[in-house]
Point group: C2
Chain length 136, copies 2
DNA sequence: TTCGTTGCGTTATGCTATAACGTGTGGCAT
DNA sequence: ATGCCACACGTTATAGCATAACGCAACGAA
């Protein structure tokens, strides 16, 4: 998988996500890009589709929000290196999301799938709760 | 935790979910209950809130849909017995969702949380893909 | 009785996502 | 060069999911 250069819209959306300190919704992205000429949700969603495909961005299902991949600097995403499933811990207090990976969990899920002849395509793992600061 | 008796609306919603062969959306539930007098989404959502609280029903985040707990007959839910985290394999072909549990995965997630002093409240695990039949 | 809690019904609204149309541009084989 | 195709883009409209805010009724505890 070769990562194609991002288009203008894709870069704008990716920039917004990179700067954001939390996961943000597509409509929030839209609002932040109005000054750059964005006017319709589809402009955001289309860019997000490509970014998700490229693995540069993740979608948080329990939040209906999006976040830049925490590994974007390690070049593993751009290189198309398929790391395992991504997991998130999402603080309901401050809204921050921590991305992590656990190959043992991947292994268990793959084992389950294999035993059932289920062919996995995309896996979501999200823990909602309170981070250390917010739980205090 | 003692399970309080379900109200009329809660029973109606639960019945619809129990009969459904797949996860269904709140609006689908609403449509199926119009002949029973349901007229507004809130009637469904309020019932769902209670059923979710009681553990009789699960929400599938990646689908925005709901499903009856697969263990409803084993009395573990009604008894308030906290089984571990629930995981689902969701077939994007036929729409069926298989509920399962894996204590080892629970263990890994708990270990991560403990190490980070993250206090988990609700965990979502969903694998989307194709079931054996649909992959053929 | 008085009050608080809970469930219920209704209207209105907000947020999330996609359908369907058309335009323009760049690559590329003929 | 020409014709074609793939792709990104823009716009309008609509579909689908969820909750706010009001008021009423029933019930049980103090």
């Amino acid at each position: 998988m070769i990562a194609p250069a991002l288009t203008k819209n894709q870069s704008l959306v990716f920039d917004v996500l990179t700067r954001a300190e939390q996961p943000i919704s597509a409509y929030t992205i839209l609002d932040r890009l109005r000054e750059h000429g964005f006017r319709a949700p589809l402009q955001v969603y289309r860019a997000l589709d490509k970014l998700l495909e490229a693995g540069l961005v993740h979608r948080l299902e329990s939040l209906n929000a999006f976040v830049a991949c925490a590994h974007r600097n390690s070049s593993c995403c751009a290189a198309g290196h398929a790391h395992g499933t991504v997991a998130f811990a999402i603080c309901t207090g401050c809204g921050q999301a921590s991305e992590f990976h656990d190959s043992e969990i991947d292994g268990r899920l793959n084992a389950w799938s294999k035993a059932r002849r289920f062919r996995p395509e995309k896996t979501t793992i999200e823990i909602r709760g309170l981070c250390e600061k917010c739980a205090a």
